[in-house]
Amino acid sequence: MTVRGLRSRLRSGVGRAGWAVADAWVIGRRYLYHLLRKPDEIASTLVIPVLAVLLFGFVFGEAMGAAMEVPGGDYREFLMPGLFALTMAFGIGNTTIAVVTDASRGVVDRFRSMPIASATLLAGRCVADVLAAVVDLTLLVVMGLLVGWQWHNGPVPFLIGLGLLLLLRVAFTWIGIYLGLLVRSPEAAMKFFSLVFPLAMVADTFVPTELMPSWLAPLAAWNPLSSTVIATRELFGNPSMPGDTWIAQNAMLMAVVWPLLIVAVFATLAVRRYRRLGE
């Protein structure tokens, strides 16, 4: 078998973009195989939202809905978009663990010694995460429908809302990839998350920012999660109490700007880190 001709093709750069997409897909598919072999990964991502629906939706739901004076009175209608976004954020755990595992086992070394663009490989992980997020979202939407949540503005705003959620997932994927390249072991990553996860909770998820103590409210309002949550509530026609701060009033804009900003920063950091891994 001759592979010599191929080398010149590899070098020529012809159709480099096409190859980049193909490569990202090959890598992405690898992670999707993992998902098939470890369905518990999806399950573990969904544990928190499911528990949250049961606990907040049913046990405390009545009281919270009443206390907050949710327009229309249904706390579960208010809650579901928050849980969608929270699940997108929590996906960062799987991303980071997968990347740090690859890096510590030498798999990343092999990829880096091959003639493939660095960004392509990392993008592959992102592709896989977005596809996994589609599965997560589908299951969550079904669960939402079962507990009485609905979208009220027709299919197009609904799909745009899902699009914003996936965009948020893309942003968190790049944070996760960067962290995975930064820490040395899965254990170190776990320690880090126990500090970071509470931050993901300080957002418009369970309680509107309006009702938070004044020192916490700005932090929650400027949390990128909040913009996506408020924007999707609007798109789905679910009850919302965004308040009248600038950031809350421009949630739709910020639900796009935040993720793009995060991707720009963290993708740059991740690619740079990847190129200098092990220095």
Binding site: L6, L10, R30, G106, V107, D109, F111, S113, G278, E279
Partner: protein, 343 residues
């Protein structure tokens, strides 16, 4: 630009390579590292744990940038033409870099696709390599169910997808049991027979001895470390580091001197005295006749012998004769492959 197939140009060449980790205050890991590997040969890079073997391999495979000096692989400058280098090399690192959750076949096909072989050719190449490494039967099992030796062989197969001109093997048998180690040795030998240039790192003298055409010995870390202190064929090096040894253990420490005098001129070099262990270590040229002669002389003398053992020189012996100091072996790192090394 020199061609890959120019037989007079080294397939791997380094001149005065320098590297330290953690900025200018970090410890020097490579400090004037020189290496030249002729195309189509197996070259052993031998050194104790921490000597800088992996660092050298990482620089040569474009994973790490050197602080100074020059490195070429397959005629391409590692620092300036990394993309070219990557299309000509294969790497099997210290940890098997394969995917635990994919099957053997999926692993190889994935790497084939990433080398842009296309689906059909990736499949064909995969089948070829599985066959060659005796993994056809296990091809559809996830790697989690592979033994350590099988995983290493698959790792080796993955590094060969593109039929690389130069293959880097970083401690390919560390942590393997003797049976798996033999499997890997066999695979490396058949590779070299097909014309691939191999740079192999190892902590074990007998591994380098078994596989390599030429050997470079890397100094232990510390002062004077990070450079090659001896290079040559086995025969060249044997002449410098002493050949086989016969250890004579006597019953009391006082007898060590006497034993050394008794066996003196059988030795091929100066015997090494170790009172603490009541041992005289005698380098010998021809072990069988030397053993017979030694036994006869000890028998005729007043030396009370506790034990006589014949052993091959270890890396320790090599460093002792090359640098005059002992290297503390890292037992943990040697793992299963370290057992029976001195027999």
């Amino acid at each position: 630009m020199p061609s890959v197939f120019d037989p007079s140009h080294p397939a791997v060449l380094t001149e005065g390579l320098r590297k330290r980790y953690g900025g200018s205050n970090g410890a020097r890991v490579l400090d004037g590292f020189d290496l030249a590997v002729a195309p189509g040969t197996i070259h052993g890079l031998l050194g104790p744990n921490g000597a800088g073997k992996t660092t050298a391999v990482r620089i040569l495979t474009t994973l790490l940038t050197a602080d100074g000096g020059h490195a070429e692989v397959a005629g391409y400058d590692v620092a300036r033409q990394p993309a070219h280098v990557r299309t000509h090399i294969g790497l099997a690192g210290q940890h098997a870099a394969v995917d635990e959750f994919l099957t053997g076949r999926q692993n190889l096909e994935m790497f084939g696709r990433l080398y842009h072989l296309g689906a059909r050719r990736a499949q064909r190449r995969t089948a070829e390599l599985l066959e060659r490494f005796g993994l056809t039967e296990a091809a559809n099992r996830p790697l989690r169910h592979y033994s350590g030796g099988m995983r290493r062989r698959l790792d080796l197969a993955a590094s060969l997808i593109l039929a690389p001109a130069v293959l880097f093997l970083d401690e390919p048998t560390t942590g393997l049991d003797p049976h798996s180690r033999n499997e890997v040795w066999q695979a490396v030998r058949s590779l070299a027979a097909s014309g691939t240039t191999v740079l192999l790192t190892t902590q074990y003298l007998d591994e380098a001895d078994q596989l390599a055409d030429r050997i470079s010995i890397l100094a232990p870390s510390g002062p004077g470390g990070g450079r090659v202190i001896a290079e040559g064929t086995q025969a060249d090096l044997k002449a410098r580091i002493g050949t086989d040894r016969i250890d004579v253990i006597v019953t009391t420490a006082e007898q060590v001197e006497l034993a050394a005098r008794t066996v003196g001129d059988v030795a091929d070099g100066a015997p090494e005295l170790d009172s603490a262990n009541r041992r005289v270590s005698v380098p010998v040229a021809d072990r069988v006749s030397a053993l017979a002669e030694l036994a006869r002389r000890l028998d005729d003398s007043d030396v009370e012998v506790d034990d006589i053992a014949m052993r091959r020189p270890t890396l320790d012996d090599a460093f002792l004769s090359l640098t005059g100091r002992r290297v503390v072996a890292d037992e943990n790192d040697a793992g299963g492959a370290g057992t029976g090394r001195t027999g």
